[in-house]
């Protein structure tokens, strides 16, 4: 199965290359932005380490493919041409896209990492302080957010847990004692009304909805 996928991947690459070559040969896409040449860089042993590409043809590199010989390790892209990288693609040993980094602050540093599985988002890691440290992790099922964990005080321990159903929060729990476990929990119904609160194991059902 895996070898079939790999074969399919290689075939796809060859098809792409043929298409690109044909377009180049017959002068296709005359009105499209002219793509600059790719500059390969090698280490002392002749191993390919970097592909630098001026993809939009504005005379400045905007795409960098970090290579381990024939394998792509990471691709960094300045998608908006402002001189700062804003997209990072990370590839695993099987050349599958492992995660995509983006910069919400657009400061040239990744602060959000999105993980796929079967083409769907399954996890998003965020560094709200833009310091590279992940303090919030969101989990998705069928493309929808189902829960999140957060280290709100940055001490390295998760102290807030959220669950979601149908796009709205269904519960939130806090560790107010620094134990690493929830000590308070609030649960909501689908209308957003509080239906329970208190210590997680014996949340107090509300007698009147708040």
């Amino acid at each position: 199965m895996a070898s079939q996928r790999e074969a399919k991947g290689v075939s796809s690459i060859l098809i792409w290359m043929a298409l690109i070559a044909l377009l180049g040969a017959f002068g296709g896409c005359r009105n499209a932005p002219r793509q600059g040449r790719i500059q390969p860089s090698y280490d002392q042993t002749g191993k390919l380490k970097l592909l630098t590409w001026d993809r939009n043809g504005d005379g400045k590199p905007d795409t960098w493919g970090y290579m381990d010989g024939g394998r792509i390790v990471r691709i960094e892209i300045d998608t908006d041409g402002n001189g700062k990288i804003d997209r990072w693609e990370y590839y695993d040993a099987n050349q599958k896209l492992e995660k995509v980094g983006t910069s919400r602050a657009n400061d040239g540093k990744p602060d959000t990492w999105t993980y796929p599985a079967d083409g769907e988002i399954v996890r998003v890691e965020l560094s709200p302080r833009h310091d590279g440290r992940v303090t919030r992790t969101e989990f998705y099922e069928a493309g929808a957010l189902v829960r999140a964990e957060e280290d709100t005080d940055g001490d390295g321990r998760v102290d807030k847990w959220e669950t979601y159903a149908h796009g709205v929060m269904s519960s939130v729990a806090f560790d107010t004692a620094g134990t690493g476990h929830p000590t308070r929990r609030l649960a909501y119904d689908e209308q957003g009304q509080l239906i329970a609160f208190g210590p997680p194991r014996d949340s107090v059902p509300t007698t009147s909805k708040h």
């Binding site: 290359m17 002749g46 590409w53 024939g70 792509i72 590839y91 107010t176």
Partner: protein, 168 residues
């Protein structure tokens, strides 16, 4: 106004001044109230996808009692300020137009000992699109193939022969 009436008025004002509580005593609670208000103030920001979100409806809730301490809306900069009535464990909830909870800040142990406002961030979940996973690898490799380094891309053994390139 006659002289007698003037004297009476001055006397009355004097009496009020004389028997009124000292000014400091009046001012003291006010000053104390300011300090207390600072200690019980929550300042916060609503963010979504790294950007602040204006005009979001917010509820401040006592985590221990479940009671709502008040409601407020984030301003044009996504910021808000709220003063809770008493010390306690509070959180700020963001709600949508239907009143459903769409985000929450951290639990804040609001107390009078603090002389600075408590800071919170209410994170709203972002709608995420799987289109983010459109890979650049094939495009890059195809373009690299055009740059006469095609020999490397079909290598699967890891021992890549030194590629031949016009740039070398």
């Amino acid at each position: 106004m006659t002289f007698k009436r003037s004297v009476a008025l001055v006397t009355a004002i004097g009496s009020l001044t004389l028997f009124a509580p000292p000014l400091r005593a009046v001012a003291a609670p006010a000053q104390q109230a300011v300090v207390t208000a600072q200690g019980l103030t929550i300042n916060g920001t609503v963010v979504k996808g790294g950007s602040t979100v204006p005009n979001i409806r917010l509820r401040v809730r006592n985590v221990d009692t479940g009671a709502i301490a008040g409601q407020i809306t984030s301003d044009q900069n996504g910021a808000f300020t709220f003063t809770v009535p008493a010390a306690g464990l509070y959180m700020v909830e963001a709600i949508n137009d239907d009143g459903k909870v769409i985000g929450a800040g951290e639990a804040l142990n609001v107390n009078t000992a603090s002389t600075t406002p408590f800071i919170t961030t209410v994170v709203l979940s972002t709608t995420r699109n799987a289109a983010i996973f459109s890979s650049t690898a094939l495009i890059l490799l195809a373009a690299a193939g055009g740059a006469a380094i095609t020999t490397i891309i079909t290598d699967e053994g890891g021992s890549t022969p030194p590629p031949v390139s016009p740039e070398r």
